[in-house]
Each structure stands twice: as C-alpha cells, then as structure tokens.
C-alpha cells in the first residue's frame, strides 16, 4: 500500500510543479526554489513528517524533502545547543545529497563533453 501512497504523493507534487510551469512565466529554477521553501515551511511545524510516515520514500524523492532535511538537521542541534544550533546542524542530513551532486558532476565533467 505504501507504494501507492508514494506514487500519489510524488506524482501530485510533480503535477503541481507542471501546472505552475505551464500557467505562469516562472522557470524551472523558480519552481524548485519555491518547493524547497515550501518543504522547509511544512517541516517547521512537523507537517512534512506526517507525509514521510504516509508515503515513505515517495515523500523523500521530490525537492521539497531538501528543505525538510535542512530544517530537520538544524532542529536536532537546536535541542542540544540552543539558537547557535541553527548554524551547526543545518547540513547534517543534506550533506550526502550536496556532496554526491558535487562529486559526480566534477568527475563526470572530466570524462564527458556536452552533446549539443
């Protein structure tokens, strides 16, 4: 059943993005940025955690999970260090994604050339 939930959640997020892209003059960059901010907003009051429980990996695939993980890592250190924790733990959970993207892009750009 969780596969159906994952399909529905991730599909609806992508569909909202597609509807915004088609009906306004915003670029894909605007949409991904907006979705990250929405993800951070939803997680700051524990709403996104319910989506993760409901849809599992399906809620972690859209870019909204990036904002969710940013604020999640920050909140973990806030519990132990107070306000300074906001500066310390922000990238705790997202570092894997950013580092993977940097490493793969760097090494692939050495071996491949653009196809245009």
């Amino acid at each position: 059943m969780i596969y159906v939930h994952a399909f529905i959640f991730c599909g609806i997020v992508c569909m909202i993005g597609q509807l915004i892209l088609d009906n306004t003059k915003l670029t894909p960059g605007h949409i991904t940025t907006m979705f990250v901010i929405i993800g951070a907003f939803l997680d700051s009051f524990n709403i996104y955690d319910k989506f993760v429980l409901w849809a599992g990996g399906g809620a972690l695939v859209p870019i909204t999970s990036f904002g969710h993980l940013l604020i999640h890592g920050a909140m973990d250190t806030v519990n132990t260090f107070g306000v300074m924790g906001l500066f310390m733990g922000m990238f705790d959970l997202t570092s894997s994604g950013i580092v993977a993207a940097i490493i793969f892009s760097f090494f692939f750009s050495l071996f491949f050339s653009p196809r245009d």
């Binding site: 991730c10 599909g11 997020v13 569909m15 894909p28 700051s44 990996g57 809620a59 870019i63 993207a101």
Partner: protein
C-alpha cells in the same frame, strides 16, 4: 475574417489540452520516481541491514548518481523535454542542474569555468533552502520554544 477568428479559437484551445496532458505525464513520471525511491529504500534497508532512515540517504545518492550519469551521457535533456516537471521536481532535477552547468563551463577552465559556474543553476536551491530553514527555525524557536 472567419479564418482569423478560427485561428484565434484554435490558439485558445490547443494549449489547454497540452496543459492537461503535461500535468498527467508529470503525475505519472513523478509518481513512478516516487515508487522507485520507496523500492530503493526498502531494498537497501533489507540487504544492508540498516534502518530505513539511513537507507533513504543511500536512495538519494543513488538517484543523484542516475541523474548525473544520464545528463553526462546526453539522454536527460530529451527525457526532460518529454516528462518536464516529472523529472525536474524530484531530486534528479537538482543533479541535472549541477551536472549540465559543470559540463557546459568545463571548457572555460577549472577555476574560472567549473569552479565559478558549477552552482549557477543549483545555487538558488541551496541559498533559499538555507535562508528559509534559518528563518522558519527561528520562528519555531520563538513560537514553540
């Protein structure tokens, strides 16, 4: 005159069908990627004996690898033309943005090309993610404590 009116009617109605079709394609492709993510999480946590929270990190790295690799091979742009937001909104879009910037500016040298421009497209995601997470984190500390 009739023809111009007819053309206007056609112009009015053609994009609407495309919008619905695009939304449906985005829904199906995005949903498929969501199912792939969930399957990967379960496979990793089953075969590597790790909790699903850690397996989700493995899943994100795998999807980023696939996004980078397909972009480097040159397939991804054609797939995006077909699926649009179904591939841009998932984490593969983030990988695609970084990889295509890296490929494009690699010719201009390592420091002034690759180093200066790698985050040209993906940087806004990181910048506004961090700023919004900071602001909402402060709000939450003030409101909830």
């Amino acid at each position: 005159m009739e023809k111009i009116k007819y053309q206007k009617l056609v112009d009015k109605h053609t994009p609407k069908e495309n919008i619905l079709l695009n939304a449906l394609i985005g829904f199906i492709v995005g949903g498929f990627l969501g199912v792939v993510g969930e399957v990967l999480v379960e496979l990793y946590s089953y075969y590597l004996h790790i909790p699903s929270k850690d397996a989700s990190v493995f899943m994100i790295v795998t999807l980023i690898f696939i996004g980078c690799f397909l972009t480097a091979l040159g397939f991804f742009d054609n797939l995006v033309k077909f699926a649009k937001c179904g591939l841009i909104v998932p984490i593969t879009g983030f990988a695609h943005a970084m990889m295509s910037a890296a490929l494009e500016y690699r010719k201009e040298g390592f420091v002034t090309g690759l180093g200066a421009n790698m985050f040209k497209l993906a940087g806004s995601v990181i910048l506004f993610g961090v700023v919004s997470a900071y602001v909402f984190g402060l709000l939450r500390i003030i409101l909830i404590g």
